[in-house]
Symmetry: C2
Subunit: 617 residues, 2 copies
C-alpha cells in the first residue's frame, strides 16, 4: 500500500473549538495573569458594544473573587439590551458565532470568538460551566443558563436552563471560574485595563470589586452616548478581485450599474457608468455574467477613477479633547509640561476605512532615562499585550525621534526620554495579528498614518522645546545682565573711589529685546492665562500681539479689551511701549487649555523673545 | 419589540474561511512581501513534513515567476509520498483539515490551516484556482486538480480534475498565483527562509529558481534522515482538568488504572495505582464515572507524585553541531572569534514536552555598535517575522547581558554588540501567538528554559572574553618587560659607561609565570590544535596539562603521545620544564572544533596564564 494511503487515514477535520482548546495562547490565554485580564476584557468589551448598539448608557459591574489556588470567580453584569433566549447558548457556547462579523461597522468585538473563548478556557482549566443570566425587557422574565462547549462539535452543551426573576429592566450577567493570577498596581492588570477603558469611554460607569474587597468606581463623566458609527459598504479603493467576485455572486442587483452603486460606498450611478465604460463592460449586463477577466478590468478601473472619500460617520474616534484628558489623567502626579494631540482624516486599506489619532505628553517628572511609554488603543479598547508585534510600535520605532528632542540609538527603535505617546486606531475592521486582539498587523497604510499623525504632534513638541530653550537662553542672559552688571558697577566704583554710574540704559542696550513671558493656570473648568510684555529696547515700540485660543465660544473675559476676537485668536494693540515699560494682558477661558501660542506683528521678530511672527489667520 | 430581538436577527455563524478571508494578516499575509514568503513557507514546510513521515530524503524545487504587476506564479514540487485522490481537495480547499493536529508529535505543520490559507489568499488576490498534481506510487497515474475554496461553507470547490501521466515515483506539485512582492538579499526573504531552512535540514536538497532566472541550489549535506520523532501521550505534569475530563469521556479503557497507564506517558500501572490511592479514587471504577470532583483530586495527585520525564524521542532537536555549523555559515564573512552552543533536556508545559537549544557567535567583524541579531527557529522552521512578539526575544530582553560583556541600557532590552544569538524551540505543540506561526507565546516554562540555555552559552562567552582579557594583560606586561627592559639596560649601561648587565634572569623574575598559548586551525574537516608552554619562572616545574576534546573518537593524531586519552580530554605530563624553556603539544581532530579549553594540575594556577585549574573529569 502506498504510504500516502497510510497517511490519509489520519487526515481529518479539526473543530475550531478543538483548535483553540489546544492553542489558547492565540486567544490571549498564554499565562495566568493575562488569562484573567483577557477574560474580563472580552466580557466588558461585549457589554460596551451591546449598550452602545441599544443606545443605553452603560452601567457595568465587575467582581472578582478568589475561589482556590490560582482560581477565581469572575462576575460581569451590565444593563445592556440582553440576549434573546434561543441565542444565549450560541453566543457563549460556540466559537465563530456573532452579530458583528458580517456588518462593516466600527465595534470592539468583530470576530464572534471572544466570549466563547472565555467559556472554553474556563471549562479547560476548572471543568465548570459558565452561568449566564439575561433579560431583554421590563415585563419579561430572565433566563438563566449553565453552559459548556462540546469542543468536538463546536456547539453549546446546556447543563441547566431555567426561568427566573431578575429585578432589572434589561441586561446580562455572567459568572464563571478560571485559573488565573490577580495582580494589582500594574499597567498590565484588570485595573489598568478598566482605567484606560473608562478614560476613552467617559459615558460608561464601571464599578470594579477586587478580590480583597476594594471597590473602584470609574464614574460616568459624559451623559451622552458617542455618535453611533454607521454601517457602510466597501469602498472601491483597494477592493480585491476575490472580494469583487464574491460580491458579484451574492448580490441581488440585476444590472452592473445597480450593483456598483448599491454594494459600494462612494460610487454614484454616474460613477458606476464611468467605471464600466473604462473597463469596457456593458452597463446592462447581469453581475452573474461577469467573469474573472471583466472583474479584473473593473478593479483596474477602480484604481484609475477618483472617488469621494468614505463617509466619516462609519468611524467613532476618541476625540482630541478626550485624548488630552486621558494623557493628563495618566500623568497627573507627574505635572508634565506639554501635551499635544492630532487627529487624521479617515483613510482606506483594502476598501476598509480607518483613522488614526495620537497624543504626546512631555516633560515634568516623567522619567528622563527610561524608554518612553506607549499607550495603544484600537476601537476604543486599550491594548495591553504584544506591544512588540504592533504596527503602532513599529511606526514609532521607524521614526527618527532625535530630531524631536528624544534620545534614540542610531535614530531607530523605541526612543528614551520623558514622554508618553498615545495612539488610537479606529476601523471598521481592525487588522489584528491574532484572535487575542492585542496587536495591529503591519499594514503599510496604517503605519503611514500613525507616522504622519505622530509627526504633527512631535513637531508641536519640538516647537515647544525650542521655544523653551530660546527663552531659557535669553533668561540666562537677562539674569546675568540685570543681576551681575550692577554688582560689577558697584565694585568697580568702590575700587576706583568713584560714584556708581547709572546702568539701566546699559542693560537695555545689551538686552536689546522685547521680552514676552506668560503663564497658564487651570482652576477646575476655568483657565486663566497671563501675558507680560516688557520693552528692553532703546526705542518706543507699537505692535500687534496675537494669542491663539481653542474657540472664541470659550472666552469668559479678556483684560484689556482686545482689539479683535477671531474664532481662534485674540488681537491686542501694544501701543507706544516705552523702554523698560511693562504691560500685562490676560484672559479667562472656560475650557481646557495648556499653553499659549503668542505671535507679534509690526515689529521685527528677531527682537522679540517669547513670540513668533504672526503669519495671518 | 425588545432591542434584543432586533439584534438577534444579525446573530449568525461565521465560517472559518470567511473569518480568515477578512483577517488574512493573522495567517501571515499582512503585506505583499510577507504574503509571498508565507506562501512559499507553508508549502515547503508541508513538503519537508511529508517526506520525513514517509522516510524519503526530500528533493524540493521552488520556482517563482512574475505574472503581472505585483503578481507572481509560484510552483513548488516535492518527491514526497503524494496525497491520495480523495484527500487532495480537502487538504488544499478546506481550512482546519489535516493529519497532524490530532497526533502529539513534533512536526512543522500542526494546525491544518497553512496551505489552504495560501489557496484562500491566492483566490482573494488573483481570483485564480490553485493547480495540484499528486502521485502516490510508481505505477499509478497522477491526479491533477484545479481548486478554489467556497468560503461560505469552508469546502473545496473543484474547478477541474483529471488523470495525467507524471514521470516521477511519487510527489506533489502545486502551482498558484498570488499578489506579492519579491525581494532579494534580505533576512526577510524567500532566499533567507530557504537558506536557514537548508542549514537546519541538511538532509534536504532545495532548488530555488528566482523570478530573474537565478538558480540557487542548497545541496544535501547529510544523507540520513533525522530520527523520526515518536508520537506520545500527554504527560501527567501540567495536564488540566478540562483535558482530563475530555480524555475520560473519550477513552476506550474500562478501568481507571488502564486509563491512566494507557492514555498518559510516564505513568506505569504501578504509578496509576499510586495516583488513584492518593486521590482516593477506586481503581476499579470506570473512567465514565469520574465526576469533576474526582477528576480534580486526580489532577492534585499528579502534582504530588514524581513521574519520570517524557521520552526524549518525541522531539527532534537540530543538534549542537548543526547549530554551530549554521552560525558559522551565517557569519562566514565575518570571522567571529567565538561560538558556543547549548542543548537543554526536554521539559513540560501543560503536559506537552518541549526542549530548547541555543548558540551564540561573538566577535570578529560583527558590527560592534548595532543591536545583536537574533535567529529564531521552531521545530526546525526559521521564524522571520514578529520578533517583538516572541517569547525568545522576551527571554533575551529580560537577561542582564552586561554581565556577559554586551552593552545593554539599564540591563534590559535587546543588547548591543558583536554577537548573534540563535534559539531553537522544539515541541510536540509549539504555542504560536497566531496561525501565522511566526512568534512563540509567552509561556513561562519556555522563557525559563531559553534563559537557562542562553546563560550557559553566555557564561562560556564570558569565560572566553575574560581569558582573552587576562592574556592580553599578561601579554602587555610580557612585551613591556622583554622588549623595553633590555633597551633600558642598554641605555643605562651606556650612560654609566658600564657593560650591559645580563637581564634574562630579571625578566623571568618579573614575569614569574608559566605562559600557555594555543591556536586552532581548521582545514576542511580536519582541525589542528597547537599548545605552547613556556616557563618564565625561576624554578623547574613538573605538572599535568589537560586539553578538552569533543570525543576521543575524533582524534587523528597527538604529538607527543599523551599520557592518557579520556573520552573528552587528553593529558600530557610536562616533565621538568626549565626556566625559559618552551615545549609544544599538538593534536589533530577530524571534526569541528573552535577553541581549546586548557587545564593544569600539579602547579599553583596563579602562576599560569592561559589555563585553568583541572578540577577532575
Amino acid at each position: 500500500m502506498p504510504i500516502a494511503e497510510e497517511l490519509a487515514k489520519k487526515q481529518k477535520e479539526i473543530s475550531i473549538a478543538e483548535f483553540f482548546e489546544r492553542n489558547r495562547q492565540i486567544l490571549g490565554f498564554d499565562n495566568l495573569t493575562r488569562a484573567l485580564i483577557t477574560s474580563v476584557k472580552e466580557a466588558v468589551d461585549n457589554s460596551l458594544d451591546a449598550c452602545e448598539e441599544a443606545g443605553i448608557l452603560p452601567d457595568i459591574i465587575i467582581k472578582i473573587e478568589e475561589a482556590g489556588e490560582n482560581e477565581y470567580r469572575i462576575e460581569i453584569e451590565d444593563n445592556g439590551p440582553g440576549i434573546v433566549k434561543k441565542q444565549i447558548p450560541n453566543v457563549f457556547g460556540r466559537l465563530l458565532y456573532g452579530s458583528r462579523f458580517h456588518s462593516l461597522k466600527q465595534s470592539r468585538g468583530q470576530q464572534g470568538i471572544g466570549i466563547s473563548a472565555v467559556v472554553l478556557y474556563s471549562q479547560l482549566t476548572t471543568g465548570k460551566p459558565i452561568n449566564v443570566i439575561s433579560k431583554i425587557g421590563e415585563n419579561l422574565p430572565a433566563h438563566s443558563y449553565e453552559l459548556l462547549i462540546d469542543t468536538k462539535r463546536n456547539r453549546p452543551h446546556i447543563v441547566k436552563e431555567e426561568l427566573m426573576h431578575w429585578d432589572k429592566k434589561s441586561g446580562t450577567k455572567i459568572g464563571f471560574y478560571i485559573k488565573g493570577k490577580y495582580v494589582k498596581n500594574r499597567k498590565q492588570s484588570v485595573y489598568g485595563y478598566l482605567k484606560n477603558t473608562a478614560i476613552v469611554n467617559p459615558h460608561a460607569k464601571i464599578i470594579f470589586i477586587e478580590p480583597d474587597g476594594t471597590k473602584n468606581v470609574f464614574d460616568r463623566v459624559a451623559y451622552e452616548l458617542p455618535e453611533q458609527p454607521k454601517e457602510i459598504k466597501p469602498h472601491p479603493y483597494g477592493v480585491e478581485i476575490g472580494t469583487l467576485i464574491k460580491m458579484l455572486k451574492e448580490t441581488n442587483a440585476k444590472k452592473m450599474v445597480a450593483f456598483l452603486s448599491k454594494e459600494f460606498s462612494s460610487i454614484s450611478p454616474q460613477k458606476a457608468k464611468e467605471v464600466l465604460s473604462l473597463a469596457n463592460v456593458d452597463t446592462n449586463i447581469s453581475p452573474k455574467e461577469i467573469g474573472i477577466e471583466k472583474a479584473k478590468r473593473i478593479i483596474e478601473s477602480f484604481k484609475k477613477i477618483k472617488f469621494i472619500s468614505p463617509p466619516t460617520d462609519c468611524l467613532s474616534p476618541i476625540g482630541e479633547n478626550l485624548i488630552k484628558r486621558g494623557l493628563r489623567k495618566e500623568t497627573s502626579q507627574l505635572s508634565p509640561e506639554f501635551i499635544s494631540t492630532n487627529k487624521r482624516m479617515p483613510c482606506i486599506f483594502r476598501g476598509i476605512p480607518f483613522m488614526v489619532e495620537t497624543g504626546i505628553v512631555y516633560g515634568g517628572n516623567l522619567p528622563r532615562d527610561e524608554r518612553i511609554e506607549i499607550l495603544r488603543f484600537a476601537n476604543k479598547v486599550p491594548l495591553l499585550y504584544q506591544e512588540g508585534a504592533c504596527v503602532i510600535t513599529e511606526a514609532i520605532k521607524n521614526m527618527d525621534w532625535r530630531r524631536y528632542g528624544l534620545e534614540q540609538k542610531g535614530g531607530k527603535g523605541i526612543p528614551y526620554g520623558p514622554a508618553i505617546i498615545l495612539v488610537h486606531v479606529a476601523s471598521v475592521n481592525v487588522p489584528f495579528t491574532s484572535e487575542s486582539k492585542e496587536a495591529i498587523a503591519h499594514v503599510e497604510e496604517i503605519e503611514r498614518e500613525v507616522k504622519l499623525s505622530l509627526q504633527q504632534c512631535a513637531r508641536k513638541m519640538k516647537a515647544h522645546l525650542s521655544k523653551k530653550k530660546k527663552r531659557a537662553k535669553a533668561e540666562n542672559k537677562f539674569l546675568l545682565i540685570s543681576k551681575i552688571l550692577p554688582e560689577i558697577a558697584k565694585k568697580v566704583a568702590a575700587t576706583l573711589g568713584k560714584p556708581i554710574p547709572p546702568i539701566d540704559d546699559v542693560i537695555t542696550q545689551i538686552m536689546n529685546i522685547v521680552w514676552i513671558d506668560d503663564s497658564v493656570n487651570s482652576n477646575g473648568n476655568l483657565t486663566e492665562s497671563r501675558i507680560n510684555v516688557t520693552n528692553y529696547r532703546k526705542a518706543i515700540h507699537t505692535f500687534d500681539l496675537y494669542v491663539e485660543i481653542p474657540s472664541k465660544k470659550y472666552l469668559v473675559k479678556a483684560i484689556p479689551e482686545p482689539e479683535k476676537i477671531g474664532e481662534n485668536y485674540m488681537k491686542w494693540k501694544v501701543e507706544k511701549i516705552k523702554p523698560s515699560e511693562k504691560r500685562e494682558f490676560k484672559f479667562i477661558l472656560n475650557t481646557d487649555f495648556d499653553e499659549n501660542n503668542i505671535y507679534v506683528d509690526g515689529i521685527n521678530p528677531v527682537y522679540v523673545i517669547g513670540a513668533e511672527k504672526w503669519e495671518g489667520e
